[in-house]
Amino acid sequence: MLRKCFIAVAIVAGTAQPLLAASGVNPEADRKAFVKYFTEKFPKLKLKDFVNGPYSMDEDLYKQWVAKEEFPPYEFTLEKGKKMLATPFKNGKTYADCFENKGVGIRQNYPKFDPKRGKVITLEVAVNECREANGEKPYNYKKGEMAAITAYMAYTSRGKPMSIKIPDDPRALAAYKKGEEFFYTRRGQFNFACSSCHVQMAGMHLRTEVLAPALGLMNALPVYRSKWGAVGTTSRRLTSCNSQVRATPLKPNDELYRDVEYFLSYMGNGLPISGPGARP
């Protein structure tokens, strides 16, 4: 009798703290440590302003950003995305048939874990799966149409808190953990990890650029970069970062890229979506 009771308690506790004891993975504890680190490092910055990256940290950059946001250069991309979302496929169906709330105001829920397939589904993957399910060719994962439609979807989610869920499923936790490992692993001839620039050196000037903090970084994606003159996807952001440290970038939409997006998006939970963000 007593023993049964113990088991029941253990199960209840298990759902509250996903696999904590079994795997040693505790995303919520990681997130709290992450937030604490950045809020202590930047005591003057409001939590919600982390999603605007370097623009929140340098007055000269901030002024340039405000000047551009008066009529943002990604305005045409947003219009294109909006049109794409409303345009039916050849079979008459639209993206609205694939997404909850017709694809509007849902960006904050991605990447999400699909328990049926045991896979992390990023917004970009969801877009391409929707296309393929309706007999259309998938988009390139880096730019163009993919960037446009996800930019518009992010725009309709602006201000909503990032709401990534990591369910009590060993496959979800494994993906999260692999993402975390990717984030902290040094790579490339420069021997830099994502975290080297965006944790330890966050807010510092590298040459004259200000390094964005990792906290809230994914909330701004997809992102318009002045140096691209265009909006790019998460895959493009990651391939570009890898190249800069002289690491051979992985293929766009590589499993590790999806995992790191899952990890880093979870770190940004509760912070508002600011995508499509703008960055130098």
């Binding site: 975390e180 790579r187 002289r246 690491a247 051979t248």
Partner: protein, 104 residues
């Protein structure tokens, strides 16, 4: 931690340099050196730890060989191999070390 790694890398690279300086290389020397470099590079890429500089050296090796400059070609191939091996060593080392960087 990072310093140790960079020193290792520097040693590997300089050894690669010395070996080639001594004797004039032939097309066969190049082929052998290139095959080894290519194999190491493929292994690194499969481990998702490739370096762009490895690919660059491989290309430079091929270009030099095409121009008949086998000394140069071998030098680039050895450098590519050293870089590929260093990238693999980096990956192995990071399998443990990444945890030290985690925010706690």
């Amino acid at each position: 931690m990072r310093n140790r790694f960079l020193i290792q890398l520097a040693v590997v690279l300089s050894v690669g340099g010395f070996v080639t300086a001594a004797i004039a290389a032939s097309a066969d020397d190049f082929k052998a050196a290139y095959a080894k470099a290519e194999a190491a590079s493929k292994k690194a890429l499969a481990m998702k730890t490739g370096w762009l500089t490895t690919t660059k050296e491989l290309k430079a090796a091929k270009k030099a060989a095409d121009a008949g400059k086998f000394d140069d070609a071998v030098k680039h191939a050895k450098e590519a191999e050293a870089l590929a091996n260093a990238s693999i060593a980096q990956s192995e080392e990071q399998k443990k070390l990444w945890k030290d960087a985690v925010i706690r």
